[in-house]
Amino acid sequence: MTQTHPGPVLPGLLDTETIRKDFPILHRTVHGGKPLVYLDNAASSHKPRQVLDALNDYYEQHHSNVHRGVHVLAEEATALYEGARDKVAAFINAPSRDEVIFTKNASESLNLVANMLGWADEPYRVDARTEIVITEMEHHSNIVPWQLLAQRTGAELKWFGLTDDGRLDLSDIDRIITERTKVVSFVLVSNVLGTLNPVDRIVRRAQEVGALVVIDASQAAPHMRVDVQSLGADFVAFTGHKMCGPTGIGVLWGRQELLEDLPPFLGGGEMIETVTMSSSTYAAAPYKFEAGTPPIAQAVGLGAAVDYLSGIGMEKIAAHEHAITRYALDRLAEVPDLRIIGPVTGEDRGATISFTLGDIHPHDVGQVLDEQGIAVRVGHHCARPVCLRYGIPATTRASFYLYSTPAEVDALVTGLEYVRRFFG
């Protein structure tokens, strides 16, 4: 269905017919021949042939451990791995490739920052006299590391609340970010609400008080141009599997002087300069933060993914998703008893839409949609405080990507109507 009719023509759409050919999984069917309508992109995206080819080529032709070998495979694997770092650095406009650290996922990236600050010397050190600021719309991966840091250092954890329409409540910003604040960490685009947050205002206030700024760009990097220089943050974290890349790879970008000053987190091979039994010195960043054999193939795959995304153009991807999202918001407004949790218009939001449907539990909504071949996510989406804030146990979430079509939105709406009838 979605293959033959992309659905209504909206301005700004990509040529999804061509793009979808790159993604093998989009051609499979489920539940006895139903075409797959994959609207769970905020959880994880699919991988184009180009990324799978890069992985296969790596393993079939060039695999070796990196950095220390003098043989052909070691040279080739190192060049591919470090080449991926160059690609990612260019993708986020990093001033230096040495500012790009490969981790296993965004969660590790955020834990890495929290741990660096917990073990740091002044002026960065988080301790009992200091405060950490996050927001109520964070993913658990940007909550729990800071709770652990607060517990272990005695620092106070504070957060911005949310407005009824799904935005950060910054009215109290000067009381929340204070002279005692050492670090402010927030999500660029919420994985539940879809909200795009006002970076400038938060960065300005954080800089006023000398706090470091960490941005969780996990839901932004796949969908829009993320320029670490224009964001003005000190650290930016994101994850490969949501942006057409493999699982098992994440990125932490950090400002060079910080990476030089801050202590290592994981210890081991690769991250050292010299080791004796009693003490060690560490390599320069980014290696200082990459202990052990890195996710080599996964970095190569992520490099292929950013090539793929850049080839299409991040602006065009953003425009496509914006068009789809507006169309979806319009169409979902037609469904009785459907309540959107998060911004209800297309401004300053990403392509993720959470909603409730009367008092039908999201598990049931999701299951009955699945029987029709429509994949959405249900639950608290690893951001339970958002559900608590809006007094709901869970939501159903539809999230789009560069290969999503208006016809898939139509399928969702038809599916939801069926769900209502089913439980009516």
């Binding site: 539990h361 598990h363 639950g379 146990p393």
Partner: protein, 155 residues
């Protein structure tokens, strides 16, 4: 998965609401945040009441309703036997087709056989049953529970 029996229990739950009990537990399904508060009341070895409240999907709601219907009034060993049979069915990944003997034990609960094919939903179906077991252990003590375990099976 959505058998009429399940939808029926979902729409018209048995014994919902919290009443007096000997023990109360609160269980959460971490994968979805569903919650149940459940109380048990015993009269000797007899399950005198199972009362509950919570939020959850049709499967977890219907399952709690079925539990109430099946277990209230039963002697503990028999109730434990039913619980285990239900557990076995739910953990079968769609492999167990309920036979007559199982249907006699589980009654309406055999309708959940289809759910066992969906691992993500098995937890929903088991939420109240795990809570009941836990509450029973609290009410009677682990020892009491063990003594009552049905013969030939391990709890």
């Amino acid at each position: 998965m959505y058998q009429d029996v399940i939808l029926d229990h979902y729409k018209h739950p048995h014994g919902r609401g919290l009443r007096d009990g000997d023990a109360e537990v609160h269980h959460v399904n971490p994968t979805c945040g569903d919650e149940i508060t459940l109380r048990v009341r015993y009269e000797g070895q007899v399950v005198a009441d199972v009362s509950y409240e919570g939020q959850g999907c049709s499967i977890s709601q219907a399952s709690a309703s079925v539990l109430n219907e099946l277990l209230v009034g039963k002697e503990l060993p028999e109730a434990l036997g039913i619980q285990e049979t239900f557990l076995e069915l739910m953990q079968s990944r769609g492999q167990v087709v309920p036979d007559d003997a199982m249907e006699e034990v589980l009654e309406d609960a055999v309708a959940f056989a289809g759910v066992s094919k969906y691992p993500a939903r098995v937890k929903c179906a088991l939420l109240s049953w795990m809570a009941w077991k836990d509450a029973t252990a609290q009410a009677l003590g682990d020892a009491g529970l063990k003594d009552s375990a049905p013969k030939g099976r391990t709890a």
